[in-house]
Symmetry: C2
Subunit: 124 residues, 2 copies
């Protein structure tokens, strides 16, 4: 049976929170073993926990705040718009991608694709 909307909502909440304040290992634990990550869409697809962990590792040393802006769930999949504010060198870099996630029956993410472009980065 497909993961319930409540379960999917909880995983998305965890994901957004962990991108802000978690470790790469905590984020990777949300993914299925052979999951794929394409971030941003159009770049190379990373597959599996090791490759996905490498992708998230740089986040650990950054000062970031995240918040979920909107979320839609349908058919065991989710799309959500969220905001990541990174503070560095006295500036704030705000990116608000829309991510697409597919889930397995246990609510683990099997595929994530992040939609954003360079033009979406706001520096303030």
């Amino acid at each position: 049976m497909a993961a319930s909307p409540d379960r999917i909502r909880a995983v998305v909440d965890d994901y957004v929170r962990l991108v802000g304040t978690g470790t790469a290992d905590e984020i990777v634990a949300l993914y299925a073993e052979d999951a794929t990550v394409e971030d941003p869409v159009g770049t190379d697809v990373r597959r599996g926990h090791a490759a996905i962990g490498e992708f998230y590792a740089p986040l650990e040393s950054m000062e970031q705040e995240t918040r979920l802006l909107s979320l839609r769930i349908a058919g065991g999949e989710a799309v959500f718009h969220f905001e990541i504010v990174t503070r560095a060198d006295g500036a704030a870099f705000t990116l608000s991608p829309i991510d697409h996630m597919v889930f397995d029956d246990d609510g683990r993410v099997t595929a994530m694709r992040a939609f954003w472009g360079e033009g979406d980065l706001v520096v303030s």
Copy 2:
């Protein structure tokens, strides 16, 4: 060559506007001949202009306003959050799906998937 972000943005703007005030034929013209539509995600996929036209035909007789809330473009694809307000029997029914569209090189939509659930419909 993939459709440019500017071209994709124009098609999304047209789509949102036409869902509000256009005809089914005008909407269908944004789609490639063998395009697919899955709305909402998890329901049967409609394929081709005839099936897609049937899907949009009921919109023509409805009083609707639409507006684009957010849009992200990457790798020849787009996801966008938009709002549809339908007025009927003195009430306003507001739905704000997040749609995913894939485009061919000419900027025609080859696949659309709309993410929303019954719980996302707001009646006021």
